[in-house]
């Protein structure tokens, strides 16, 4: 397994722990379909939240947050709707769908975390 995948996996672990500590319930992780992947699917009250986790080992290639483009966010929203269609019974539909971004950057062995809600 390549180093970058290790970093990504570690970042996702941290993100999940962070989201749970903030009171969100994680429903699914690394859900894939033919259109792409959602890193974390969570619920907050009656909202379905698709979370993109972006981890960077530094800032030499730009910040983790700016690496998430408009296009990516739009795709996540579409994926979230598809996730609901495939994994949720009709009786348990959510009131709303939201896309969040969790950006992690490694500085001197420790991580900074930034959680941006409602990107789309």
């Amino acid at each position: 397994m390549a180093t970058k995948d290790d970093l990504g996996r570690h970042g996702e672990q941290l993100a999940v722990a962070y989201l749970q500590a903030r009171g969100m319930r994680v429903l699914d992780r690394n859900w894939r379909c033919s259109d792409g992947e959602i890193d974390v699917v969570a619920r907050e009250d009656h909202t379905l939240v698709a979370v993109e986790v972006k981890t960077r080992s530094g800032r030499t290639h730009g910040t983790a947050f700016e690496a998430v483009t408009e296009e990516k966010v739009t795709r996540l929203r579409r994926l979230a709707a598809r996730w609901q269609d495939e994994r949720c019974p009709l009786t348990e539909r959510f009131d709303a769908i939201r896309v969040d971004v969790v950006a992690l950057e490694r500085f001197a062995g420790t991580f900074t975390i930034r959680h941006e809600r409602g990107m789309c």
Binding site: T63, F65, E66, V68, T69, E70, V73, E116, M119, C120
Partner: protein, 523 residues
């Protein structure tokens, strides 16, 4: 995360319009959005500003950045807004205090390393900023001298964005590097802005004393300089047409302060301003090549409309050597600026009016072969070819030329004899200045400065010579040799001749001489 606002100037022609630059650093997908009717060079500001900020060791806000230039209806072009965009953004991101950037104007283009690069058109931009109530204007160091020409504005020059950020963060505003302001004497005239050599004759500078053997042409040049008249010179090659034209500016007085600012503003926009002389005080001399296009002569160009040769020659001399070689469209396009003193260039994106009050000097050979006409080797052009050559200059254009002279080859004896009568430019310029002062005294309280500018209506009311002096002119009008406009132009030259002679009004000697100059038959 807040909104910050600062100010800048957009140039349309030589007129500046104040622009508000707003920056909002807020939540959303990270990215930079520039809005407000921008051209390509301005959209590229995003990349320049980002590199400049990062290379000035400040972090780029990791957020959604929106930058708006207002009013959005005005088309904005070029890189003049870089600095204002960077400053607004840094204020919105909390790097510099929002309150500090709200009032000053920021003008400058940014290099990728964070250096401030000089701009074109700083003078008109700072003038517009001053008119909009600016107290402080930040400019690149290399434009500081030009910006400092504008009174009542504090010019703060910087060479890098990093220094500017340091100044904006500093509470003590008094430590700002202030541009060296040119000293002004009692009349508000700038005395230090040009090197003293500009007023003194220098070696290698053309002087009227260089021209030998054309006493009549030298006199015609003096008349044109004194009254601001247009000149047409016809003669074989080697008789000194170009030499004479080049020496016309040396006879003209210095530009008045207001005129100097006008001329400098045009040259600043055109990018032809010499860096060591922020204020142009000598009348410009512009001699476009005969392959020049209409856009080059009148003004135009794709994208930003730039001033043409007629505007660069504003308050100076426009010299068209080998005039029949110019395309007819170029020659006829001179008619509007010759009448109105302005030129309006219209394009799809809008129209721009430039000042263009210049003295026109036309020179031509009598025929296309341009053979030095001597008895040994006469010109072999057919009469038809000669006529066709000079017919390229349209009647309406020549009708706007007040003084028409023919030059002939001088014999050796004439050249030697003329030596005694040669005067240097300095002596002639004194007479020109005296004549111009007499005219200016007469025109006090009117918008005119020299005889060539007087309106036709005023010529026949306030400035009509005595009936006796008018006789030769009216006779020519009756016989059809003079058009109505020709009569007005002849009258203006007559006034100039009177000014040169120190007379209070033209007499029959002056009107006769003016008629001779007009008809081109003085010899």
């Amino acid at each position: 995360m807040t909104v910050a606002r600062t100010r800048c100037v957009a140039l349309v022609g030589v007129t500046g319009h104040p622009i508000d630059v707003e920056a909002d650093v807020g939540s959303g997908v990270a990215g930079t959005h520039l809005i407000g009717m921008l051209d390509t060079a301005l959209s590229e500001a995003r990349d320049r500003v980002r590199s400049a900020v990062v290379n000035s060791r400040h972090s780029w806000p990791d957020a959604r950045i929106t930058i708006s230039l207002f009013p959005a209806s005005l088309p904005k072009r070029g890189s003049m807004f870089d600095l204002a965009i960077a400053v607004a953004l840094l204020a919105a991101a909390g790097v510099v205090p929002v309150a500090r950037v709200a009032d000053p104007f920021f003008l400058g283009e940014l290099g990728l390393d964070g250096s401030l690069r000089p701009l074109r058109g700083v003078l008109p931009a700072v003038l517009a900023a001053a008119a909009a109530g600016a107290r402080t204007v930040v400019v690149p160091v290399r434009n500081a001298a030009e910006a400092a020409l504008v009174p009542d504005v504090t010019v703060v020059p910087f060479s890098t964005l990093g220094q500017l950020i340091g100044w904006l963060r500093d509470d003590d505003q008094t430590c700002a590097p202030v541009a060296e302001t040119p000293t002004r004497n009692g009349t508000g005239e700038i005395t230090r802005a040009w090197p003293s050599s500009a007023t003194e004759p220098r070696a290698g500078v053309p002087d009227l004393g260089d021209v030998a053997g054309q006493p009549f042409a030298r006199r015609a040049l003096e008349v044109c300089a004194a009254g601001g008249h247009n000149l047409w010179m016809l003669g074989p090659p080697g008789t000194g047409k170009t030499m004479l034209a080049e020496r016309l500016p040396t006879l003209l007085p210095h530009l008045e302060h207001e005129q100097a600012l006008e001329v400098t503003a045009i040259h600043s926009v055109a990018g032809t301003l010499p860096e060591d002389r922020p204020l142009l005080v000598r009348p410009p001399f512009v001699a476009p090549h005969h392959t020049a296009t209409v856009a080059a002569v009148i003004g135009g160009g794709s994208g930003a409309i730039r001033p043409g040769a007629v505007s660069l020659a504003h308050r100076g001399v426009l010299f068209l050597d080998e005039a029949p070689e110019y395309p007819a469209t170029v020659l006829d396009s001179l008619r509007q600026p010759l009448e109105s003193g302005t030129v309006t260039v219209s394009r799809a994106m809008g129209s721009v009016t430039f000042p263009a009050r210049f003295m026109l000097v036309l020179a031509a050979n009598q025929c296309p072969c341009a053979r030095p006409a001597g008895p040994a080797d006469p010109c072999r052009c057919t009469p038809m070819a000669r006529r066709r050559y000079l017919a390229r200059l349209s009647g309406p254009l020549l009708d706007r030329v007040d003084v028409k002279i023919a030059l002939y080859r001088s014999s050796r004896r004439e050249l030697l004899a003329d030596r005694r009568f040669i005067e240097p430019s300095r002596v002639v310029a004194e007479r020109v200045l005296a004549a111009r002062e007499q005219a200016a005294k007469r025109f006090s309280g009117t918008p005119w400065r020299c005889n060539a500018e007087v309106s036709a209506q005023a010529l026949h009311t306030d400035y009509r010579p005595a009936a006796k002096a008018m006789t030769p002119l009216l006779r020519c009008l009756d016989s059809g040799e003079l058009s109505a406009r020709g009569l007005d132009r002849t009258l203006r030259v007559a006034w100039t001749l009177a000014d040169l002679a120190g007379k209070s009004a033209p007499e029959v000697t002056e009107t006769n001489a003016a008629l001779g100059l007009w008809l081109g038959e003085a010899r």
